[in-house]
Symmetry: C2
Subunit: 308 residues, 2 copies
Amino acid sequence: MRTMSLVVVGSVAYDGIETPHGKRERMLGGACTYIALSASYFTKTGIVAVVGDDFEEADRSWLAEKGIDLTGLEHVRGKTFFWAGVYSNDMNDRTTLRTDLNVFADFDPKLPADYASRPYLFLGNIQPGLQRGVQQQMNGVRFVGGDTMNYWIRDTREELLDTIRSWDFLLINDSEARMLSGEYNLRRAAARILKMGPHTLVIKRGEHGAMLFREDTLFMVPGYLLEDVFDPTGAGDCFAGGFVGYLAERGFDLRNGHFDAHELHRAVIYGSVMGSFCCERFGVERFRDLTRAEVDQRFEEFRRFTAF
Amino acid sequence: MRTMSLVVVGSVAYDGIETPHGKRERMLGGACTYIALSASYFTKTGIVAVVGDDFEEADRSWLAEKGIDLTGLEHVRGKTFFWAGVYSNDMNDRTTLRTDLNVFADFDPKLPADYASRPYLFLGNIQPGLQRGVQQQMNGVRFVGGDTMNYWIRDTREELLDTIRSWDFLLINDSEARMLSGEYNLRRAAARILKMGPHTLVIKRGEHGAMLFREDTLFMVPGYLLEDVFDPTGAGDCFAGGFVGYLAERGFDLRNGHFDAHELHRAVIYGSVMGSFCCERFGVERFRDLTRAEVDQRFEEFRRFTAF
């Protein structure tokens, strides 16, 4: 399965999180961690990230046990990226209490030689120039896309537009789509963004589900209705991991001429499935015992919930 | 088709509405009007409502042309219920500018003899005691349900609980479901409400779609993605009309022993379809030229948008 494998770039961090269900002072987090954990249920996944010398051996070995390729996890002097935040009572808002970039401030992603020929690439939310740099170190990529955030959309717009021009897909949330396009209405926003390069746009709407737009198709899925949302941290990243991980597993590839739009739809469902599991416990804890059988079971639940 | 016909009770009104797309000083409105217009695409619909002597003949004759049975539209001395409101720029909020109950203040619904044996009944949002009074005037009802609002949930809770106990379905929005159940989480809220009497609960979430709960099933549909939301007034009522109208058209009936859950799911889709059309123009204007063929076409669009 090496040829179907995925490279993920982004942050590995420690998070301090408080939700109405409790508090964790310091636990493994970071977008790259969530994306890779989620994608690892579908495909061989290698990460490109940086951590400091405070990075715990237990965390490293757990990620390795999950089958994640850590060749591209760089260790440097200093402290690992730390973020702390607190969620509102309904968990629809969160306030950042602390952001210590630490070693992440100078992150200069270096691709292990072994990664360069892998066919799937997900560029997590980092500075657009760095995303482009990683893409340029790859050869033979068959499906590439990524995430971004309000900060890059506002402050490095031209660089971002240059970066996403060659992407297959962009995966952002509704407020980012509005900001990037300058359109409030999501159908209009999507039409504008699809002119910026990516042929596929996925808009995540948190508890309200997700939408996939292509020039000629629209697909929508409602959010999974959890009985308890324990901690929504990382849910969007787990969505990304499920989405691109499933496509990598299936060998989905637009450049070969064969194309099944339903595979993209199913990737959105697997994204939703992984995002929903993420919320069931604090941080990455749900992935300690989550099985692929449970993942496929929830996929089928989505079918039952939406069939008519 | 007389045996499959529907009775709708609620307000017929004039509305003054301002949205970012424009303004109307006075146009036909009221929950009963929207519900009946929407349901009339599916089944013979008779209304029970009251208007004043300022009610326009043109409005009356248009409703009659749409096939709505106006035998139960009482005309009394005074002015018709008038409501005015203004929407926020994103149309997710509205501010009431004026509520003149006028003749609606003393509304005492009287069922025409001819209505009493009709099998489907939708009790629009009026005082729960009045809803119950109407239900008691019916004989042989096979499927009954209705709507309510924050005001009745808060101020006449016991009366409301007495009223909905014998309903087949309750159709409310998410904040009303939270208020009625005392649970924020919608899955828990639904579980509580399903113990109050109705075996079927539909929760409307506006642009985010709708959910149908029964003891053993859950069905979810995302909102239709309009390119322009012109005026959301009445969309929830049109959802109700599409939902119950479709079930009446199909002769859906739980009391006969036969039961197809997918019919309830399709009713939620038809509700969503009718709600989406409602938003495309001011007030009831979209129903001036909307055809059943367009309705069925959008139903199929929902299938394409959600299939995977």
